[in-house]
Amino acid sequence: MKFLKNLNGISNLRILSILASILGIIILIPIIFIIYENFASNTEVKQSFLDYFYDTFHLILLTSFFCIVFGIIPAWIITFFKIKYKFFFDLLLVLPLAIPGYIMAFIYSDLLGYGGIIDFFLEKNFNQVISFDVLSINWLSLFLSFSLFPYVYSTARVSFSLIGNTYINLSESLGVNTMNKIFKVIIPLSLSAIVSGLFLVIMEILNEYGAAEYFGIKTFSVGIFKYWWALNDKNSSIFLSFILLFIVLVLIFLNNFFKKNENKIQYHIRSSSVILKKLKNPLSKFFSYVLIGVPIIFGLFIPLMSMTNNVIKNFSKFDFTELSNLIQNSLSISITASFIIVAITLFILIIKRYSNSNLLKFIIRILSAGYAIPGAIIGLSIMLILQQNSFISVLMGTTFLLIYAYVFRFIAIAIFTIDNNLKKQPYEFDRLADSLKLNNLKKFIKINLPLSLNSIIVAFLIVFIDIMKELPLTLILRKSTGKFNTLAIEAYNKAKNEELANSSLYSLTIVLICIIMIIVVNIFLKRKKHVH
């Protein structure tokens, strides 16, 4: 604190920026290590690696397609038409984010699988049985899209609202019909936002482990786990991680390249408020509600009902002491990690703002890509580092290690949220504070901190939700000791052992906690809008 108080001198800021840079580099160690290890080891490229490639891309393509359908259509209807209870639909269409992909997949495989509720219903009433195998890549894509479409929905919704009525009126006055209006105007103008949403969906799919493993789909994350744990083939695991990292980096590059070009266009979009159109025809009104309702029913209501049903049915069998321990574990690790992540982010971003250090800017840019790096890679890399360095191997299986991994994986979310807010704070405020002879610590406490408070809270809550749902990273890092258990791990383990009814209690707890958090985030975001 004393050090911070004397921050007016440039030399002190330089020291702090070096400190922040070192902190950034420490967080980045896993990624540097996995690249180094790949080139250091001689891995024989196996034919089976191609299967991982094929399955992963198959899953990405189909899930993205479903997410576009479930995300864009409701966003279009809600933005441009007069719909009753719009506020609730808006919220309900984001809430499926609270249900992790693996839980969604477990629930639907239970409902649609052999001996499931649908099978039972068909057999009882029509003397028929389900003739398809739900444990396939196509069905998994659909199930994953139920929990991932909100990424596309929210980005498309914001973008559609920004376009407003200006371009709609203009295109109509130029003789454009409804279909052309969508494909020639609305979609091209929102393309960058939709691609950003899809990018998040793809990153989530690449990170997905629990569902893919359960469905027997060979995704890269599944491969990394399989070679590392089951086949004890460290080199193949590293090679798959490297390939996955390469794919992620290509996707980041493509996304950035696309964004750079689109930014020029986006800045020239003249936003205007949307004048909502009435749906006069009862048939079109009905279909609009159906199109909004389908993703809500399949993404939220059915999974919630199924989990609740399982919990009620097996209520007497549950071990609530275990549940309470797991809640305690999950909450304590999520709160602690979220707090640390937000604190580091704030420290690094404020030092960047005050010092304008190029090195720090570069490190922050790399850290921002952290969210795209699948948990399996980070987990594997950390395990390798520990195995090779005996003096730090004592950290194996500790909470410290888990938090360190979470920091790497989720710091990007905090950076994105807080930095966006800091960028909106004019530098004139800082200069004014300097002219009023406030030192940097006072400047931070009296100006930047109060102005960033909402974004800090939002960042904390979003990171918290992501950590609550996180599976592969936690799984890989606690697997070595098996001591530390979370709700996500227990939900996954029970489902994997065909104890779906038991798994529901843990899944429902995660989902309910996340739903509450998402509602709180929404309230804060609305408040933020109001303040601005």
């Binding site: 200006t166 371009y167 203009l170 109509e172 003789g175 454009v176 091209p188 103008l189 020029k264 266009i265």
Partner: protein, 306 residues
């Protein structure tokens, strides 16, 4: 009449924006609509184009009723206040947006006339505000509209760009014989461009006449003041109204005044004179010192009568 607007009414939240508004326009005529902010100028254009639906009345073009047609079937081109170009399309694609067939000669003529031939491959973010408005103009006119609507097209342009665009618009509209309604708050522009000027106050038509008559024979003092300063002077116990340029300095006259202020305006000086207890303004080529006594004469034939 080519365009007939018959008793149209438009309400927003139970407040009348237009009340029984009627107007007729001949083919190729340019009509300017002038009125204070919130008088309903832009609403008229939105109703005619179909962006806003009218509550009552009829709109017909060339004897065909259009008010029941959707926007995209009306063949009306609309250049908005800040006419946006589609940011994802280049200039040429913006101009030819949603056009299956077009007259290549006309396009060439319009591009040349508006001097944007060389920016066809540029994107909206690469061109200036003036060029942006010219592209929007070409985009509207290439469609051979039955009616061309211009909503304050010079709003965000500097003087040089504005004068250029004004000349281009008049030339093109006259050469292509396009019927035009032009909404503006700059009265000088309307006087220059229009065949007729319509004055709109609180959604109601106050008057419609030629620019000459509106300026020189306005129906009320309020309308007269919209187009420039008006002096009021009591001569022989009778109030006389006249424009500044119709008060001149003379050697001897019954109107004697004392100079109170002289302001340099560029081409001339604006002199404020006190006649008895009344203040009047006049233009002078030369500067006149404060407190100097001068004699004034009102050009009788140019007096304003209400």
């Amino acid at each position: 009449m080519f365009i007939k607007i018959d008793k149209i009414t438009k309400k927003f939240d139970e407040i009348f924006c237009l009340k029984n508004f009627s107007m007729s326009i001949k083919k190729g005529e340019i009509i300017s609509i002038i009125g204070p902010s919130g008088s309903g100028k832009s609403t008229i254009l939105k109703c005619i184009s179909g962006i806003c639906k009218i509550d009552k009345g009829e709109i017909s073009i060339n004897n065909k009723r259009v008010d029941n047609l959707p926007v995209n079937e009306r063949n009306i081109s609309y250049v908005f206040q800040e006419s946006p170009l589609f940011p994802h399309l280049n200039v040429k694609k913006n101009i030819l947006f949603n056009l299956k067939k077009y007259d290549k000669e006309k396009l060439f003529f319009l591009l040349k006339k508006t001097k944007i031939e060389n920016i066809q491959n540029k994107y909206p973010y690469q061109i200036s505000g003036g060029e942006n408005q010219r592209v929007a103009l070409v985009r509207s006119l290439i469609r051979n509209p039955d009616l061309f609507l211009l909503d304050e097209p010079f709003n965000n342009l500097d003087n040089s760009n504005k004068n250029q665009l004004k000349k281009i618009i008049i030339d093109i509209i006259k050469e292509t014989n396009t019927t035009t309604i032009f909404v503006n708050h700059e009265t000088q522009d309307s006087l220059e461009i229009s065949d007729k000027i319509l004055i709109l106050v609180n959604g109601e038509k106050k008057t419609i006449d030629t620019p000459f008559n509106i300026y020189n024979k306005p129906k009320s003092l309020k309308i007269a003041k919209m187009f420039g300063e008006v002096n009021e002077l009591l001569i022989d116990n009778k109030k006389v109204y006249f424009r500044i340029q119709n008060l001149i300095i003379t050697r001897k006259s019954s109107i004697k005044g004392k100079v109170m202020e002289s302001k340099f305006m560029g081409h001339f000086y604006k002199i404020t004179v006190k006649v008895d207890t009344q203040l009047v303004n006049l233009f002078s080529i030369k500067d006149i010192k404060k407190n100097e006594i001068i004699y004034l004469k009102v050009i009788k034939e140019n007096q304003l009568h209400f």
